[in-house]
């Protein structure tokens, strides 16, 4: 907009750079977790995840074959062989024969040994030692090689976290629990709220303005207020802890926002359509089902996304109203907190479990972002 009067902003490169920095800052923590979830426990604990893509330089100490295997060829004593077992393919970058200079030589070089004789090492690990006199000693000589390891990623963590029935810390069951919480806890409030929003937007009755104010007031009531009284109530009337209880709680807590958003949207629908339908003799119920609901689709979609993300990601409500001592109904967020406590150091488990729990919201977010943004805007711009 700054160049509308023909003045191209000289700051445009600075803008590009600042945005790039912001984006990287915002993205990097998540990337770290994602990358870690594909690494083995060893890799995670020995090097930062940002090194996962480098071919890691690895220093290994190996021994040549022992002197008893030497042969006499052309009057010289020779030991020949291969430093690595055959299944490992490595390419040596540098090597050495003493711990003080492990990177003294390049592959193919021939090196004089202090004990007499010489050694040649090829980059694939084949070596050849030659000596005028017999090699002595009972063990082979130590060789220090440095070889880059190709970056290695694994799906084992996911297999273990999701599908291993023996893994008591697995997320498979918790995933299903979370799903069982989130879906009805999204659908029920939206249904109830839609009817109420229609009444508050388009039906005439005394006390309407007061009710709207009441809903707006409840928007900010901290749900912490509700925990103990409602738990008491649930216990008293026999709902107890369980899915029904958590659905009802989420419904109650989600309703103010749902009614508020939907009413704001519905009141903006064209008045003519609704009045024409009334004149044509349609009942309110019919108008609502056939006209208002389809027209309100964007707002319904927006709220469902909010509510789904909120119920999927919730920890507190599930802890209070759902999870009992049997642990059978544990949701993923609470499982994660537990893992943070008990498996704080096992980043392969933690990273993978965390990613399992955030992948669904991320998919929902990226595919339905358009509605989410629109919903936010009806909620807060006036």
């Amino acid at each position: 907009m700054d160049n509308i009067v023909g003045k191209k902003s000289s700051l445009s490169w600075a803008v590009n750079i600042s945005v790039t920095v912001l984006v990287i800052l915002w993205l990097i923590p998540t990337i770290g977790l994602l990358v870690s979830s594909f690494r083995t426990a060893d890799q995670i604990s020995t090097s930062g995840w940002w090194k996962a893509f480098n071919s890691n330089e690895q220093n290994i100490i190996v021994r040549t074959a022992n002197p008893q295997t030497q042969k006499i060829i052309d009057g010289k004593y020779v030991i020949e062989g291969m430093l690595f077992s055959s299944e490992k393919e490595m390419t040596i970058s540098v090597w050495g024969v003493s711990s003080r200079a492990i990177d003294g030589y390049i592959p193919g070089e021939t090196v004089k040994l202090t004990k007499g004789g010489e050694i040649t090492l090829r980059e694939d690990g084949h070596y050849r030692m030659i000596n005028e006199n017999p090699f002595t000693g009972s063990r082979g000589m130590r060789v220090f090689v440095t070889a880059p390891m190709a970056p290695e990623f694994t799906l084992d963590n996911y297999r273990k976290v999701l599908f291993d029935p023996k893994n008591v810390d697995g997320m498979g069951k918790a995933f299903l629990s979370t799903l069982t919480v989130a879906i009805p806890a999204t659908i029920i409030p939206i249904l109830i709220a839609a009817f109420a929003a229609y009444a508050l937007a388009w039906m005439q009755f005394p006390g309407r303005a007061l009710l709207v104010a009441f809903v707006v007031g409840l928007l900010v009531v901290p749900l912490q207020m509700a925990l103990i009284p409602l738990l008491k109530l649930h216990m008293h009337i026999g709902i107890g802890k369980g899915f029904l209880g958590v659905w009802l709680a989420h419904t109650g807590f989600g309703l103010p926002l749902a009614i508020y958003l939907l009413r704001n949207y519905m009141i903006g629908l064209p008045k003519d359509i609704i009045e024409n339908a009334r004149i044509d003799g349609a009942s309110d119920f019919k108008i609502f089902m056939k006209l208002i609901l389809p027209l309100s689709f964007p707002a319904l979609a927006a709220f469902s996304i909010f509510q789904f993300l909120w119920t999927w990601n919730d920890l507190l409500v599930a802890k209070v109203f759902l999870i009992d001592s049997s642990g059978q109904t544990e949701v993923m967020t609470s499982k994660l907190v537990e893992l943070l406590g008990s498996r704080g150091g096992n980043w392969e488990i933690l990273a993978t479990s965390a990613f399992v729990s955030i992948v669904v919201p991320l998919i929902v977010f990226f595919t339905l972002q358009k509605y989410l943004v629109r919903g936010l805007l009806t909620g807060s711009i006036k």
Partner: protein
């Protein structure tokens, strides 16, 4: 079970409306006019009933009940009225004041930085070609649970012993830029609060950005053109023209984040559980309720939370009433 509950809900609305129109007040017969007008007076309440019922039971009643609980002590033989004793006990508790102080610093810092970064991001991303992609990425943490975010950031703050390779990004950078030894950031008193706040800032900035970007775009172009013709530079244009125009929206964003901050629980619960001087009110309350089993003090702290949001509640209701009239 899922579909049963949905069918049950829909069934209520359908059936109640059908009963009203066909059985109790049929729109035919001798009382047709009276029936229709009476039905139309009842119908709004049929539409509203489930929602109102849920709101009353799940939000309004608990506020009153919590107030009552905060004034009573629970005994095996029943509740005993103790007046303000629970509050007195709470105000004598060091941990409460720690939580209160921390909550205040969360309240000052998180909304300010989130809104500031959000405004910056909104302003910058609107001026480049790949702005929408950038927005998506900054907005993305909104979809991640507080607990998930805590795990993500715990890896960032991770500390390993001196002689090992650091796997936490912050410590790796700290050592790279000349730090002497890796630090355990989340046990570092006072500063650790800031490190926890960063997690919430990371989540909330995207929210602020999306709303502020829309507000910025709604500024009439003539205003901006006029300012440019009058020779204002980009800084003046931003701070003197654009920001004042969207002041209302900035306030809305600020208060919305403030409410989120007041209720912050998951992040503290997952990352430190209130140790190392990071307690906050919501977690203090959870502690009292479910570990200390002290409903009186727990309720008293919930009431403190409620009092803290009350100014915003009143302001919101006032605005809404103005709008309706």
């Amino acid at each position: 079970m899922i579909s049963a509950s949905v069918v049950f809900c829909l069934g209520y609305y359908y059936l109640s409306n059908w009963l009203l129109d066909n059985i109790f007040l049929p729109a035919h017969g001798k009382n047709i006019n009276r029936n229709i007008s009476l039905a139309n007076q009842i119908r709004p309440w049929l539409f509203l009933f489930p929602a109102l019922f849920a709101l009353l039971v799940y939000l309004a009643y608990p506020v009153l009940e919590t107030l009552r609980l905060s004034l009573t002590e629970r005994h095996a033989y029943g509740d005993e009225w103790v007046g303000l004793a629970n509050y007195a006990q709470m105000f004598n508790d060091q941990k409460f004041w720690e939580a209160f102080r921390n909550n205040i610093s969360w309240l000052v810092i998180v909304p300010a930085i989130s809104t500031g970064f959000g405004l910056l991001a909104a302003h910058l991303t609107d001026r480049i070609g790949w702005g929408n992609a950038a927005k998506s990425i900054i907005f993305m943490p909104m979809a991640i649970s507080f607990v998930g975010a805590s795990v993500i950031w715990k890896l960032v703050y991770d500390a390993r012993p001196v002689d090992q390779d650091q796997i936490g990004l912050i410590n790796a950078l700290y050592l790279f830029f000349g730090g002497d030894a890796p630090q355990t950031w989340i046990t570092m008193s006072l500063w650790n609060n800031l490190f926890l706040m960063i997690v919430l800032i990371w989540i909330q900035t995207g929210f602020a950005m999306v709303i502020l970007a829309a507000a910025l775009r709604s500024i009439p172009e003539e205003t901006i053109e006029a300012a440019i013709i009058d020779g204002s530079n980009p800084w003046q244009l931003f701070f003197r023209i654009k920001v004042p125009q969207i002041k209302g929206t900035i306030l809305v964003v600020w208060t919305t984040i403030t409410i989120t901050v007041l209720k912050v629980f998951d992040i503290v619960y997952a990352m430190t559980n209130g140790h190392w001087d990071t307690q906050v009110l919501a977690n203090y309350m959870f502690d009292k309720f479910f570990r200390g089993n002290d409903w009186g003090v727990g309720s008293a702290s919930a009431i403190v939370l409620m009092l803290l949001v009350t100014p915003i509640l009143v302001w919101n209701v006032k605005n809404a009433r103005k709008e309706i009239q």
